[in-house]
């Protein structure tokens, strides 16, 4: 009958282990199902009045970059993109911007001020954002020559991330890298702000 003495403390062990595991995880890190899958196609109007069909870029390495003019982290990131587009243009890198929850005028003013000669499409109604499982801006999807998403960056890009992935993608001609290299990454400590912020806070009156 000795087992009863041990049953209660022993059954507590998995409970404590579960608590220890669950309480030390960052619940905000959500793995995306998209890396490794074909990039969702879209045909949308660009801010300059043309239209762009993603499938027409099949066979090239494409960075699909979601951004907005109200997004602070996108400011720092934009310069990285301008620089990357310049450095890798000759080797065939294409950049496509997707404007998220923002107006055409804001986006035009942004590009005029900060540069960038790649097409930017307007995602009215966020259908494309939802198709890409977007959590916020900025997020960037690295699409290989075979049209599959190889890497997803959550948060602003930096040169290190660009130089880690782009040469690898450009170097591969046929079906891209083996499945275990599909990945997503997150930049540290960036703060996303919603477009309504901060006026939506209203003010508080205290007696």
């Amino acid at each position: 009958m000795k087992w009863q003495q041990w049953a209660i403390p022993v059954s507590g062990v998995p409970v404590l282990a579960l608590l220890a595991w669950g309480l030390t995880r960052d619940a905000r890190i959500v793995p995306s199902p998209l890396p490794g899958k074909p990039a969702p196609d879209f045909a949308l109007a660009t801010i300059s009045g043309d239209s762009l069909h993603l499938a027409s870029l099949q066979g090239q390495v494409v960075l699909v970059n979601f951004w907005a003019s109200w997004c602070l982290a996108c400011r720092a990131e934009h310069q990285v993109l301008v620089d990357a587009a310049k450095r890798y243009r000759d080797r065939g890198l294409r950049v496509v911007g997707v404007v998220y929850e923002d107006s055409r005028d804001n986006a035009l003013a942004w590009i005029k001020e900060r540069g960038g000669d790649w097409p930017n499409v307007l995602d009215v109604g966020s259908r494309t954002a939802i198709q890409y499982g977007l959590f916020g801006v900025p997020e960037t999807f690295f699409v290989g020559r075979d049209g599959r998403i190889i890497y997803k960056q959550i948060g602003p890009l930096d040169t290190g991330v660009i130089d880690q992935w782009v040469p690898r993608l450009l170097g591969t001609d046929g079906p891209t890298a083996p499945a275990d290299t599909f990945a997503e990454g997150r930049s540290a400590g960036h703060v996303r702000l919603s477009p309504d912020f901060p006026t939506a806070g209203g003010t508080v009156r205290r007696p």
Binding site: M1, P33, L72, R127, A200, G201, G202, T203
Partner: protein
């Protein structure tokens, strides 16, 4: 066989639980969707999906732009004839299972459903064995009181020997003719009955010593230290367990205060969206606005009314009107402490228009008039944090705000921004 009864109870409980849980609402996709029913299905699907840009809010409950777009997408897909499950699957294929507010009952997730049942069965087993032991102990025949008040096996054995000797004595007395046959029979019967009782008691004692060795009284007297240490260990272990539970669950179990966060105000360093929710504005506000407007029309120098109007206009997003009344108030009483609020409003409006410098000037003026005006501190902190990205100044200002502002709906969010600012500040220093 001993397991049968609790099992039956558990199964009965389970079948009850199964019938009590609501069945999935079926949707007939054929034919024109009846409006109310269709909308109910849209709402049902929307509340089963998480809003990606919120903190633990469903698409149905979130006012954010993306959630509204997601709801549109849900409506379109349902209208196109997809079933609710197909719509959910679409979102899962984009966002992962994370997007479901209720995880699917399959794979590892099943443990969420099965573990409570296992725990229930385990608990039932423990209770059943404990009860069985108690019942057996109390039902065991007690030795006759006058013969063996002590349950000590030494006493019992001595008594047994005495009884056996007494039986032999009776035989001898009878043989010697000092006892008649009737007395012999009566006395022998008495002694034999007691002997049987003593034997039973001895047997029971032997069983019990095997079963619950440490609980037997002789151990208690022979080694009280060990027993007390054991009990102390149990108490300490249970207390530690309870402490872990209370500390880790306190935040999440507490009822959420109005405007509070899911973490119950626990400080979390958050890289997640910092959103200020719209303050509730309702018919009462409109009523108050009408009252104040008529007051101002009668007396255009009524500064308190102008400032309160500014507050209400802002809450409703009427920036132009707010600017007008606040500017009027400032012109009337440029240096009164109460005007600090009008300056704070202006600072907020300027910031929202992208005029960072002007906004900071207005807020500084507000703080000059009223050095601890909470809203001026809050928006100054926000400008440092989100606009100028001066994280040290932001952290200082938020600290000041938290020190002077009474806790309210914004407190948790300001704390989150403060943590993020501190983190970013230490990051900036490292670089």
């Amino acid at each position: 066989m001993w397991l049968r009864q609790p099992l039956v109870v558990a199964l009965a409980w389970l079948s009850f639980a199964a019938t009590a849980s609501p069945a999935q609402t079926p949707l007939d996709t054929g034919g024109a969707p009846r409006d109310a029913r269709f909308e109910a299905t849209v709402a049902e699907v929307a509340s089963s999906l998480r809003c990606p840009v919120c903190q633990n809010n469903s698409v149905e409950d979130s006012p954010s732009l993306l959630a509204q777009d997601m709801k549109k997408e849900i409506r379109q897909r349902l209208a196109a004839g997809e079933t609710p499950d197909q719509v959910r699957s679409y979102f899962v294929s984009r966002y992962g299972e994370w997007v479901l507010t209720k995880p699917r009952a399959a794979g590892v997730n099943l443990s969420v459903w099965l573990l409570p049942i296992l725990a229930l069965l385990g608990g039932a087993l423990v209770v059943w064995t404990a009860v069985r032991r108690w019942v057996r102990r109390s039902a065991s025949p007690r030795p006759a009181t006058e013969t063996a008040p002590a349950a000590d096996s030494g006493d019992l054995r001595a008594r047994r020997a005495a009884l056996q000797a007494s039986l032999l004595d009776l035989e001898a007395e009878f043989a010697a003719g000092r006892l008649d046959a009737r007395d012999l029979a009566a006395l022998t019967e008495r002694d034999q009955a007691e002997l049987a009782a003593v034997n039973d008691a001895l047997k029971q004692l032997k069983k019990d010593t095997h079963a619950v060795a440490p609980a037997a009284p002789q151990t208690a007297t022979s080694n009280p230290m060990g027993v007390w240490l054991g009990r102390l260990g149990w108490v300490a272990g249970l207390a530690a367990f309870a402490l872990v539970l209370v500390l880790s669950l306190r935040g999440s179990v507490a009822a959420r205060s109005e405007g509070g966060t899911i973490t119950g105000g626990t400080q979390v360093a958050s890289a997640a969206p910092v959103e200020m929710e719209l303050q509730q504005t309702g018919p009462l506000d409109s009523l108050r606005i009408a009252q104040l407007e008529s007051r101002v029309l009668r007396d255009s120098t009524d500064v308190p009314a102008l400032i309160e109007l500014g507050h209400l206009y802002l809450a409703q997003g009427l920036l132009d009107k707010a600017t007008l009344v606040d500017t009027l108030a400032i012109r009337l009483q440029p240096d009164a402490p109460a005007t600090a609020e009008a300056f704070a409003h202006l600072g907020m409006i300027l910031w929202s228009l992208g005029q960072t410098d002007g906004a900071l000037k207005a807020l500084d003026k507000a703080l000059y008039l009223s050095p601890e005006f909470p809203e001026a501190l809050l928006y100054r902190g926000i400008i440092f944090f989100a606009g100028l990205q001066d994280m040290r100044a932001a952290a200082q200002t938020f600290e000041h705000y938290l020190a002077v502002a009474p806790p309210d709906a914004n407190t948790a969010r300001v704390r989150a921004m403060l943590m993020a600012a501190r983190q970013a500040a230490s990051g900036q220093q490292k670089q």
